[in-house]
Amino acid sequence: MVRSEELGIGYEHDEGVAWVVEDLDLEVEHGVVTCLIGESGCGKSTIGNAISGLLPPYARTYGRLVVADRVVIDGDKMNFTGVRGKVVVRIAQDPASALNPYLTIGEQLSTAIRTHFPGLSEHDVRSKALELLSDVMLGEDVYDRYPHQLSGGMKRRAAIALALAPEPEVIVADEPTSALDAYLKYAVASLLKKLQREWELTLVFITHDVSIARYICDQVVVVYAGRIVEEGASPRCLESPSHPYLELLLKALPKRFSKDRLADIPGMPPRPGMYPTGCKFHPRCPYVFERCRQEEPPIIKAGDRLVRCWRYYEQSLT
């Protein structure tokens, strides 16, 4: 459904281009929930924006990105007409800011519906909008309300309904659960999961929260410094990590019944445009050896997953 080939994305600034994402080979199958996991600044939002066609005009690209058999990024050219909305929609992090404060929920829904289903009568548009609202468990009264008249939870659901209005095939959810209380996180995630099953959607779920990822995803993609460092077809990757980064990341999470010292990952993630040579993780890696400093490892098949680490290189040759 979504396939990228050596995709690179960077942002132009005064002195040149800061490449945020490099050599990205991502493949997302139809009807699958894929989690992009990574810390802030690793480029996961950039990937999400690229897939949903929301890259700003000062973004530079190379490689190819294919969404639903349409080549949307080819070299430095982007073409999202007919893809944005129709095929892929993004759900923003903060639902309150994603709803237009000047329009009622109903107006926003019907504007989107009218755009994508131009033949519908006004009556059909309305009933379609009401249907969407009931899909996200909102009452009909919400149709005539302004966003500020809704509670936080209702806004979140209205924003999800709005994203479903064009009946897309792919939904990119960019940190939809951050800054929420624990049980609300799962409420949002389970609603998304439910809709994904019912509508047979392909869901790209971007998060930094490992436990939510474990809860919702089918496929795990761990991103570090704009690269995929580990990719697995099931949430099990998060229980038995292969890449040192993921391993340390999981060890750095406080665990409920253990008072063992948390893993200190030394240093900080590198900033875009200032990535080190060789393996991007080598300055912070406890297993670093000479080759890591010199050469960037390719993505290697190791067991049930793909890992970008030299430690698995020998193993893969045999």
């Binding site: 810390e39 802030s40 939870g153 209380d181 624990a182 049980y183 609300l184 996180k185 799962y186 409420a187 995630a189 389970s190 930094h208 490992v210 436990s211 809860y215 340390l248 990341l249 750095a252 999470l253 406080p254 665990k255 409920r256 019944f257 008072k259 010292r261 948390l262 893993a263 200190d264 990952i265 900080m268 993630p269």
Partner: protein, 311 residues
């Protein structure tokens, strides 16, 4: 057992917010509705709760940013909410504060060194003394000396949070109030800060009140845990016991949120009734008529605010 370093008795506090819309006037929003807590020297009390539970207000009330409407805040037996300015300055030295958002707690236009040294200013120490004490705390927090000359905007969130901790401990306080110290940080930086906090506590014999929405973060360094909902402490006790066997239904949800996976409502009303009475699995008739009592169990070790445990 020794006497508590900090004792909070029946604390009530409110904010005034504009009535909203275009109506004129203000209304009271009760942030704290009768909080009782004891913090013993050398221990860590973890306060956990969702947004709007009043956990940050609790910290602000102790700091004096929020004036208590009722109740007492006793520090070493003195009610610090009623002290005059001069006496208060004495107490202030013993209570440090690490705020939530590092980018808002350190002035971006000031050098790191000046920021750290700020609490020392009213003391009138000599320049060498100040330099020495800055050096000591910076070393404790693994801050390079060169950082001292930098400005806040040149540092990452994790570094800034270290600076905030350095500032909080430079007066050698006995009590440290930590308001969500890691909620703006990445996982790896969060681990660094939590480790530092744990080390500092041992080194300096500090007492912590740690507020967080993340029960796993709280459990990592807490001896006791208090769970807050809607301005009340609904459960308080030894950390281990609460984690293994939560009694209050809200605590169970905090510990096992994926088990619920639906939106639940917290009544933030002005009434003293139980805030989760609308969906609570243990609810009784009494819950919607009378406010829940504080029930002591486990040899007075644990308090639960729930009718279910009255028998």
């Amino acid at each position: 057992m020794s006497s508590p370093l900090l004792k909070i008795e029946n604390l009530h506090a409110f904010y005034t917010v504009p009535l909203g819309g275009l109506r004129y006037g203000y209304r009271k929003v009760w942030a704290l509705k009768g909080v009782n807590l004891d913090v013993f020297p050398g221990t860590t009390l973890g306060v956990v709760g969702g947004s709007g539970s009043g956990k940050t207000s609790l910290i602000r009330a102790i700091l004096g940013f929020l004036r208590p409407a009722k109740g007492r805040i006793l520090f070493r037996g003195m009610d610090i909410s009623k002290l005059d300015r001069r006496r208060r300055m004495e107490i202030v030295k013993e209570i440090g504060y690490v705020p939530q958002e590092p980018s808002q707690s350190i002035n971006p236009k000031m050098t790191i060194k000046d920021s750290i040294a700020e609490p020392l200013r009213p003391l009138g120490l000599s320049k060498e003394d100040i330099e020495k004490r800055i050096g000591v705390v910076m070393e404790m927090l693994d801050l390079d000396r060169s950082v001292g000359r930098m400005l806040a905007r040149e540092l990452s969130g994790g570094m800034l949070q270290r600076v905030a901790i350095a500032r909080a401990i430079i007066l050698k306080p006995r009590l440290l109030l930590l308001d969500e110290p890691t909620s703006f940080l990445d996982i790896s930086t969060q681990a660094q800060i939590l480790n530092i906090l744990r080390d500092l506590k041992e080194e300096l014999g500090l007492t912590y009140v740690l507020v967080s929405h993340d029960i796993d973060v709280v459990s990592y360094i807490s001896d006791r845990i208090a769970v807050m909902v809607s301005g009340k402490v609904v459960e308080e006790g030894v950390a281990e016991k609460i984690l293994r066997e939560p009694l209050h239904p809200y605590t169970s949800i905090l510990l096992n949120p994926e088990g619920v996976a639906r939106e639940i409502s917290i009544a933030n009303s002005e009434t003293d009734l139980c805030p989760i009475r609308s969906w609570c699995p243990l609810r009784m008739k009494k819950c919607s008529t009378e406010p829940p009592p504080a029930v002591k169990i486990d040899n007075e070790e644990r308090t639960v605010l729930c009718w279910h445990y009255t028998t």
